[in-house]
Amino acid sequence: MSADNGPGTATGQDAGPQEPVVKGRRRLSAIWLIPAVVAVVAGTLAYRAILDRGPQVVVVFESAEGLKAGKSKVQYREVEVGSVDEVKVRDLEHVEIHVSLDPRLHPFVTQDMAWWVVRPRMSGGVISGLQTIVSGAYLTFEPGSKGKPQTREFTGLEEPPIPASNRPGLDLVLHTDEVGGLQAGSHLYFRDIEVGDVLHYALAQDGKSVEVQVIVEDAYARWVTSHSRFWNAGGVDVSVGAEGLDVKTESLASIVGGGIAFDSPAGGEPAKDGDVFWLHSSRADVAQSESTHGGLGLVLETGSLGGVSLGNPVYYRELPVGAVVSHGLAKDGRTVQVRVNVERRYESLVRSNTVFWNASGISADLGLSGLHVHAESLKSLRSGGVGFATPPEPGLPVEDGSVFELHPEVKQKWLEWQPDFSAGKPASPGEPHAGASFFHHEGKTEAQAAEAAAEPQPGAQKHGFLRRLFGGHDGSAKPK
């Protein structure tokens, strides 16, 4: 009547003492294997999911721009190590980003962990995070140090931090007038080789200069000395001079990304962490500032300016030894005062009886012996300059700020003076180290980095060493 006594039914409960029951039992164990296996698999999965749950972190930002819950990732060194689970507003000024991290990061989720968002940024003319235009912004962090107290809530940085501190290398501070295309990440070059990076820059406290933090890789740190001179090597430096067209650039990367180059004239102590240098605006400015700063400052008085302009070289035997720093009317308005700077190593050439003349342009005098055309140098012919000479019996060395008369034109006899400076105080003036300084461009540096702000000078005096070389030849030829 019902199925239970029907021999065909196999419904467990009504299994009698017949043989099929045994069979049924065996089947039972086989079929229950399926849910058992499934349960084990699902259980393992669940267990692993719980076990694999890494640290859950909340990062607070001002804006969640570009971050999407469930979509945005946490990357460390471009490797995905977590994801953004939730983005929500905390209060009206802040948002919370809920993040789950790889469990292996657990020991690094400590108080000094720093968080920021990588998104396309344009700062200092540099675009960074370009890849995130397509991929979307992502969160990244600087791991905290192991052993510090753990925490699960962080205040995110709105700007990427300066990757300073823990990077090995020599940390230097460069002061400069203007950033001029530099940015964090710009490279530092020594002889066109990349030796370091710009970490960041900021306005100095007094607002009068910019402080650029740079790091020099350890391997190259020994090339930075107290005599090192830094200049902004960004962009292309084109100069047209008597020597022809000169295009100079450190590297293609520095054209785009800016860069700083330095050289280190012989001598000088190795630089230490935190040393301060002046960053010149260009390579030419290095030479320029050496001739306009830190040397012997003199005031020349003349009736009229007569073609002398800022940055004009000061020649001694047609060798540039300084530059015109400024000019202006004297207080009483009767004369024009031209301030010049003579490089420290040449200061002994200037004595109390030295005469200065305006070397701008061509001077011609017609005499019994014929027509004498005189120009100090091709360069002075083009842009003007100041020449000086000291009589055969040099007077006393002069002090900063001494006043001289600037003669409108040179007298032939001045050019024939051959003073003996050995009587004077500083031993060997002139060019005792012409050979050596040729390779070091300007000999020893007087323009120490921390010196006063270099005024940007027009007519930048480039390749001073070249002219010195030629000038030297001419100078030795002339007095015959």
């Binding site: 009547m1 019902s2 199925a3 029907g6 021999p7 065909g8 039914t9 196999a10 419904t11 467990g12 409960q13 017949q18 043989e19 099929p20 069979k23 049924g24 089947r27 039972l28 079929i31 229950w32 399926i34 849910p35 296996v37 499934v38 349960a39 699902a42 999965l45 669940a46 999407k68 469930g70 979509k71 945005s72 990732k73 397509v134 991929s135 979307g136 992502y138």
Partner: protein, 205 residues
Amino acid sequence: MSSDALAAGFVRCSSCERLWPAAQPEKAARCGRCGAALAARKPDSLRRSWALLIAAAICYVPANLLPVMIVSGPGGSEADTILSGVVSMFGAGWYGVGVLIFFASITVPVLKMLILFALLVSVQRRWAWSPRDRTRLYRIVELVGRWSMLDMFVVSVSVALVQLGAVATVEPGIGATFFAAVVVLTMFAASSFDPRLIWDATPRK
């Protein structure tokens, strides 16, 4: 009394439809004509159905919690579970697709499991309630079973089609495996179930 084959003392060969006397059907009887195994009812039907149904129910949990489809695009990757997929379909305004996926992936499996559960309990408890309706329910389970694979088709087609490298890639998630297991297990559970058992428990007329 003679309203069903077994009661009339016959066993029908499931393969060639030949009727055999139900003498000793349990003892590995075989059809004398075609050689198929003879059984008056599907062997071990309830137990198998139960086991498979429970396995399916277990699988259903991760199938819903874990992502079935991971879409990686330029904007990062997004892992969708079945339900979040449906929600985003609705969010995108694709109501038709959303409803379809919801029906195929949520309604059908749940319905199937619930109906099977009810049928198994009713047979085991020998409820005599409306065998006709219960049989109809069973037919619905069988009929509807294949449709729950729809979501799997969506996933597998997307995975095959959308392989554009960095632009967009679709990968199946582990949830899809579980979901496929749910579908397969419930289908087996349904086919293990012998609807004749519903009638066996009912007083015949």
